[in-house]
């Protein structure tokens, strides 16, 4: 028995973890208990050094000192303040009126607003609840298909998970030892491709099943000119003018400007010009712009300003993600104060929710640190590596298995648990297989979105259920009876969007270029170039080729962030050796 145990400690420990978690007590403490239990067994059997547990408080001090994780409370707080500021409602109202009279318009409005909310904050619940309360009744009023209406709302709210700044990307960056900024840059394009896929799906539906997404009657628009025209021409002209200005500005910049900086700055120029024009128009009452144009401009300013304040500063390298989060939180606070939407009670609530969320998330991390300490001690990472590298198909086989694993685990675990328990196990293996970790993190983040959309535990569906009508009611505007939304309709509506998310995972695997890898590719490209140059003249000088190797090593070892100690020793050949080294490093840090 003991011989079997010592020989198979890692698989036994992993199996026990599942039992401990399914037992149903708090995840954080179950993880910790599993780690402690096997740690002491290991020490008792002489498999682990008796000093193993000495590293525990040091690792916990390391978690306390981790600057990256500070972004979690900041973005949470920002989201909580923002959800009460009325920004989401104004956006839904205005964009809904703008697009409503075209077929599928309300659904497009929900997707666009969902993406915009996602880019300002990372809280799924707030988006889904706002859209469920504001847009769903309108969609039902005008006869949208209930499954489609609830599916599009849940999916658009879930975009907050992948479009930066999202919490899951922060945690992923921390666990994979990459910088949050790189992770955000990488997730930018996939986030918008996913948004485009949702729009494409609605477009498809509007051709195949036009009755599912009817156009609203023109009188559903309450923003209009005095003569009754919607004032769209003015809006169109304003849009064309500001886009043209932005493009002109972009062209005038030197070619050397990095693309992301170019996009951010030109967008600011275009939007700023539109805002100035609308502002002048309003104060001087020239009547140059229609009401709709003015309204759209003013309603878009707060979110775009916040996006610039947070993402713009991060992408331009002005602020770290943590600082960006803090400034975004202050910006949201200023906005809510300016609109008189915030009082002491609300402040207390936002602070309390932030505190409790930070606490439970950080305790899961503490628990998983205890677990991984013992798991590393019993050579667990090596076992996982053998298991996953022996899969047929190399990289692709690994990716498929890992994605299937995450997809199915996402039925039971939420993304915090997935990122803290599963990522530390598979991250090092991915690294060893030569997979770019930023790309890998974004891929898994897209996959984990499905955890919000799986019936019956998906959070987005759960939040939508809590605000969707559970009884038949009479609509106040049309005085017609409206049937309730059944839970089955919500579940069924999620399926097409889960499929789209899976397609997105496939797209990222098929076209890795979708995920931009700004931060890491720099030194690697240099090495490649140097290598090419060297090959050309390699015959004359072999010493230079020898120089290349350390350079390559340095490039591949370039660390993203000062990740906690356990991220550092992930790539080591011998886990035990790595573990001992990490212990020694911890000792250096010791007070």
């Amino acid at each position: 028995m003991i011989a079997f145990l010592t020989a198979n400690m890692a698989p036994v420990m992993f199996g026990s973890l599942i039992v401990f978690l399914l037992f149903g007590y708090s995840v954080a403490f179950s993880l910790a208990a599993c780690g402690l239990f096997f740690g002491f067994i290991g020490i008792e059997f002489g498999m682990l050094p008796a000093s193993l547990m000495q590293a525990l408080p040091l690792r916990m001090f390391g978690i306390m000192q981790n600057d990256t994780l500070l972004a979690i409370p900041f973005f949470t707080f920002m989201g909580l303040i923002l959800e009460r500021s009325g920004m989401a409602e104004d956006l839904l109202d205005t964009i809904g009126q703008l697009f409503g009279p075209i077929r599928g318009g309300l659904a497009y409005a929900v997707i666009l607003v969902g993406a915009m909310l996602a880019a300002t904050t990372g809280v799924v619940a707030a988006s889904v609840i706002s859209m469920g309360l504001i847009s769903l009744p309108i969609m039902l009023r005008y006869g949208y298909d209930r499954r489609l209406a609830s599916g599009v709302i849940a999916a658009s709210g879930t975009l907050a998970q992948i479009i930066p700044p999202s919490l899951v990307l922060i945690i992923m960056a921390d666990q994979l030892g990459k910088s949050v900024g790189d992770m955000y840059k990488g997730a930018f394009v996939p986030g918008f491709v996913l948004t485009a896929l949702y729009v494409g799906y609605i477009l498809l539906v509007s051709f195949i099943r036009p009755t599912w997404v009817p156009a609203l009657p023109a009188e559903a628009r309450s923003i209009r000119e005095d003569d009754g025209t919607p004032g769209l021409r003015s809006l169109g002209l304003l849009t064309v003018a500001s886009v043209a200005l932005a493009v002109l500005f972009a062209k005038s910049r030197p070619d050397t400007t990095p693309t992301d900086e170019l996009i951010v700055v030109s967008m600011c120029v275009g939007v700023g010009a539109a805002f100035m024009l609308a502002g002048i128009n309003k104060t001087l009452k020239i009547g140059l712009l229609s009401r709709m144009a003015e309204r759209v401009t003013f309603v878009l300013i707060p979110p775009l300003a916040l996006i610039f304040l947070v993402l713009g500063t991060i992408f331009l390298g002005i602020a770290t993600p943590t600082e960006g989060g803090a400034m975004g939180a202050v910006g949201a606070l200023a906005m809510a104060l300016g609109r008189r939407r915030i009082d002491l009670k609300l402040m207390r609530q936002a602070m309390e929710t932030t505190m409790k969320l930070s606490c439970f998330v950080l305790f899961i991390l503490i628990g998983s640190t205890v677990f991984s300490l013992s798991f590393q001690g019993v050579d667990g990472p090596k076992w996982v590596e053998h298991l996953l590298t022996s899969l047929p198909g190399g990289q692709l086989g690994f990716l498929i298995v890992v994605n299937l694993l995450i997809f199915f685990l996402a039925f039971f675990l939420d993304f915090f648990e997935l990122s803290f328990i599963v990522i530390p196990l598979i991250g090092p293996v991915a690294d060893k297989l030569g997979i770019d970790l930023v790309w890998f993190g974004v891929l898994l983040a897209v996959n984990m979105q499905t955890s919000f959309m799986h019936p019956p535990f998906g959070f987005a569906l759960f939040y939508l259920r809590s605000v969707a009508p559970t009884n038949d009611y009479t609509d106040k505007i049309t005085n017609k009876p409206v049937a309730k939304v059944t839970t089955g309709q919500i579940y069924y509506g999620a399926i097409p969007f889960v499929l789209i998310q899976i397609i997105m995972v496939g797209l990222i695997i098929a076209f890795p270029g979708l995920v931009s890898r700004g931060g890491d590719s720099g030194p690697k490209v240099d090495v490649d170039k140097a290598f090419e140059q060297l090959q050309e003249k390699s015959k004359e000088d072999k010493d230079e080729a020898a120089l290349l190797k350390p350079a390559e090593d340095a490039a591949s070892a370039a660390p993203g962030t000062s990740a906690p100690a356990d991220a550092g020793d992930n790539g080591k050949e011998d886990p035990m050796k790595g573990f001992v080294e990490s212990l020694e490093r911890d000792k250096d840090k010791k007070p």
Binding site: G24, F29, F61, A125, L133, G324, F363, L413, I477
Partner: protein, 211 residues
């Protein structure tokens, strides 16, 4: 049992008070960090002391609030299986969880971290960064937070045992009744949806009148 229940109520009060005070540190951390960033950009000066106070504050938030979070049943569980059991079985799972998982963990962490805290205190260890802060107060947060967590664990244990004896109402009900999401939904319903419907109603009436 009644003495124990009094003890439990005392702990609940203590942790509630701690939670209600500590939550303000979230706001302080946000303001300090935003100010740090702004000052760093505007005047190109930064103070290591102010940078370090950020994570001191965050550590204080999540460690000191751990008992309060436990009181509010906010440490997430996986109840795929446990959720199907009867209330009494779930209470028993909690009791075993507290005794076998939570309390030993708390004891181990306090025992292991105390020597380090004492050492940092006696040696007056400072941050290795220039202008950094003294270290022992932040190290001391770890055992302190776990003391509050352990105490709350005891309180939860007492409440569950008392429930099994039929002495108290179900302790696993969320203390405050409403979740943050429910609060938001209520808030939106009150302020927004009504106002918007009213506006739309009057809007459609005037539009109709024009026709």
């Amino acid at each position: 049992m009644s003495t124990l229940l009094k003890f439990s109520a005392l702990i609940d009060r203590l942790n509630r008070r701690i939670g209600h005070s500590v939550r303000w540190l979230v706001l302080v951390a946000v303001l300090v960090s935003a100010l740090n960033a702004a000052v760093r950009k505007a005047f190109n000066v930064s103070s290591n002391g102010f940078l370090e106070i950020q994570w001191y504050l965050f550590a204080a938030v999540f460690l000191l609030a751990s008992g309060y979070t436990l009181l509010n049943q906010e440490h997430v569980k996986i109840d795929v299986i446990a959720g199907r059991f009867s209330k009494r079985t779930q209470i028993w799972i909690d009791i075993v969880g507290i005794c076998v998982f939570l309390l030993p963990f708390v004891v181990v962490v306090i025992e292991l971290s105390m020597p380090l805290v004492i050492k940092a205190y006696t040696s007056n260890e400072m941050s290795s960064n220039a202008g950094g802060l003294i270290r022992w107060p932040v190290f001391a947060l770890l055992p302190l937070g776990f003391v509050f967590l352990g105490l709350q664990g005891l309180s939860e244990l007492i409440k569950r045992l008392a429930f099994l004896k039929g002495l108290v109402p179900d302790p696993t009900q969320k203390v405050q009744g409403k979740t943050a999401e429910e609060e938001l939904a209520e808030f939106l319903l009150q302020k927004e949806v009504v106002a918007r419907d009213a506006a739309l109603l009057s809007g459609s009436k005037t539009a109709g009148a024009k026709k």
